[in-house]
Amino acid sequence: MSWEGDNLLEVTDLAVTFASQEGRVQAVDGISFGIREGETVGLVGESGCGKSISALAILGLVRMMSNSTVTGKVEFMGRDLLALPEHEVRRVRGRDISMIFQDPVTSLNPVLSIERQTTEGMENHLGLSHSDAVKRAIELLEMVGIPKAAERIHDYPHQFSGGMRQRVMIAIALSCNPKLLLADEPTTALDVTIQAQILRLMKQLSRDYGSAIVLITHDLGVVAGMTERILVMYAGRIVESASAGELFAHPHHPYTVGLLRSVPRLDEPRKGSLQSIDGLPPDLAHLPDGCAFAARCELRTEQCRHERPPLAATTPGRLSACFHSDHLVGAPVA
């Protein structure tokens, strides 16, 4: 595929609304970002802020839901996936972009053997014969650390533990050498000890294969060691974008400040009790006119209540959607 551009994936003004009984629910509210080749990016936010829906929308899976409206552009290697017909998008799904789900227990089909589930993508996309696909699947399973892969490939999901199943999911996701891997909370359903292994595995594999990774999580600890750049989402919008190091050292959005304060630190002496962010995220069916975070924000002014702050550059290479980010720029971390 010929394509020359800066970003592998360029999302522009992506918005998703669902029609519900309570009116229009704005799940994703016009987000824009780009992912370069081989880059690892964290997409961070609370439950229900639109992280997962954004990922599904990128893959064209949201528009299949009957009550949804998806607008904006999702350009992957120069082609707008939202404008392509379903059979063209299907060729991209699982081949160029693949996804790992949160819960490996429910995302493997309990009645099909691992063999059938790992080979499916390769047969669909790469046109491999079943025996070739099985050979490659065994290699993949070995690569993700499943012992005796040649025997275990015939087993069924229930014969694997949770961590093992997530390894299988990773093997499936990587089977067609995707250029972009969307990992939706890949470690949330796993033991803490297994989490680190899975994250290390993903990082190593993405390095080996040059796949870009978007790591979707609510856990700042997970993205800290994994990603180069972090996007913070709140109520369907991106509120801050920065490199991982800068974001942790000097957050430029009051929501990020609040998130960081609420993470327990084991590597520093205790400064007092952990702080939470007061209040609740806004109802997505009744978003306020102004900043969605205003009601919970320490820095809010009258302006925040009426006007929506744009995502604007604060310092070079950094973006923040706050009228008062200058209060935070250069300020010591809380």
Partner: protein, 337 residues
């Protein structure tokens, strides 16, 4: 141990605690393997215990249900008798024996020659019952198969594609279920000039697709929302592939259960149609038609309606018992009754 217990342990929990422990041990060995592999490649000698397949598991649970096993035995006997009818039947089902009628022209009571007595034309009742089993079972299986075929297709299409297709199919199902089934069948079979086995199969199939559609529709609705369907779509599967490879295997259990229960209903229905003269035409013996023929003699020759009635009852009961047994065997949660 990871907090998410694999479903398998839940399935075989309860009385099979020993087995469950064995599997848990295996699972533990597995996580140790994972751990060991990650921290330096030391692998313990893990003994892998052979786990049972779904079918072995279902059969093991089915076997525990004595009534279901009895039903299965009866069905096997019925099938053997029906298939081997010419070898098993003591007489021809169509021959009208002179000795089959008394001097007053009445049917002969059960005795040495005619074990279950003879009918109003002097034919051997037992032989007719045996040949009648062929008709009942053939129609039971074929008609039910046809209803199942329609029901599965309609149910899958409605449940998977949703939208106006679902509305159309499911409202049609509602209409069908609200319709007096026997009346519809009577209308259909009398509209066709020459009733026969195939006509019955089609008529019963058309009448009975609705309940099957409902069951399959409900199952598909729940399965299509499962994450693994989304995952399959993510690997670039077409709808057809998702339906045949990922969803259909989940429908095997309800299909088997409802086949068995459905055959019972169909056998009964065939008997009803034959009873009112719209089923298999004489002289081919059919249980329903035999009851109908014997009815005027119920005081003088009660065996004419007693034995065909028993045959229908036992067959229907057997299929129902097997159906119930299978349902319990496939559904571990329902087992503690």
């Amino acid at each position: 141990m990871s907090p998410d217990l694999p479903e398998f342990e839940v399935i075989i929990g309860g009385e099979e605690a020993g087995q469950a422990t064995a599997e848990r041990v295996e699972d533990m060995a597995e996580s140790e393997l994972a751990g060991a592999e990650a921290y330096g490649g030391w692998l313990p000698e893990a003994e892998i215990i052979e786990t049972r397949g779904t079918w072995t598991e279902v059969w093991r649970r089915f076997r525990k249900d004595k009534f279901a096993v009895a039903g299965l035995v009866i069905i096997v006997i019925l099938i053997v008798v029906a298939v081997g009818a010419p070898l098993v039947a003591p007489h021809s089902p169509l021959t009208q024996y002179d000795s089959g009628l008394t001097n007053q022209g009445q049917p002969v009571a059960p005795g040495a020659k005619f074990w279950l007595g003879s009918d109003t034309l002097g034919r051997d009742l037992l032989s007719r019952l045996i040949y009648g089993a062929r008709v009942s079972l053939t129609i039971g299986v074929l008609a039910n198969g046809f209803a199942l075929f329609l029901g599965v297709i309609f149910g899958i299409v409605a449940g998977y594609f949703r939208g106006w297709l679902e509305t159309f199919v499911m409202r049609a199902t509602d209409v069908m279920l609200a319709f007096p089934i026997l009346l519809l069948a009577i209308a259909l079979s009398s509209a066709i000039s020459k009733p026969g086995i195939w006509v019955l199969v089609v008529v019963i199939g058309i009448v009975y697709w609705a309940p099957m559609t409902r069951v399959i529709h409900g199952e598909v609705l729940s399965i299509r929302e499962k994450e693994f369907v989304m995952a399959a779509r993510l690997t670039g599967c077409t709808n057809r592939r998702i339906l045949t490879r990922h969803i259909l295997p989940h429908l095997v259990a309800p299909i088997i259960v409802y086949t068995s229960l459905g055959i019972a209903t169909t056998v009964l229905f065939e008997a009803s149609l034959s009873y009112i003269g719209l089923g298999v035409q004489p002289p081919t013996p059919s249980w329903g038609q035999m009851i109908s023929d014997g009815q005027p003699y119920y005081t003088s020759a009660p065996w004419l309606i007693l034995f065909p009635g028993l045959a229908i009852m036992i067959t229907v009961l057997a299929f129902n018992l097997v159906g119930d047994g299978l349902r319990d065997a496939f559904d571990p949660q329902q087992r503690q009754r």
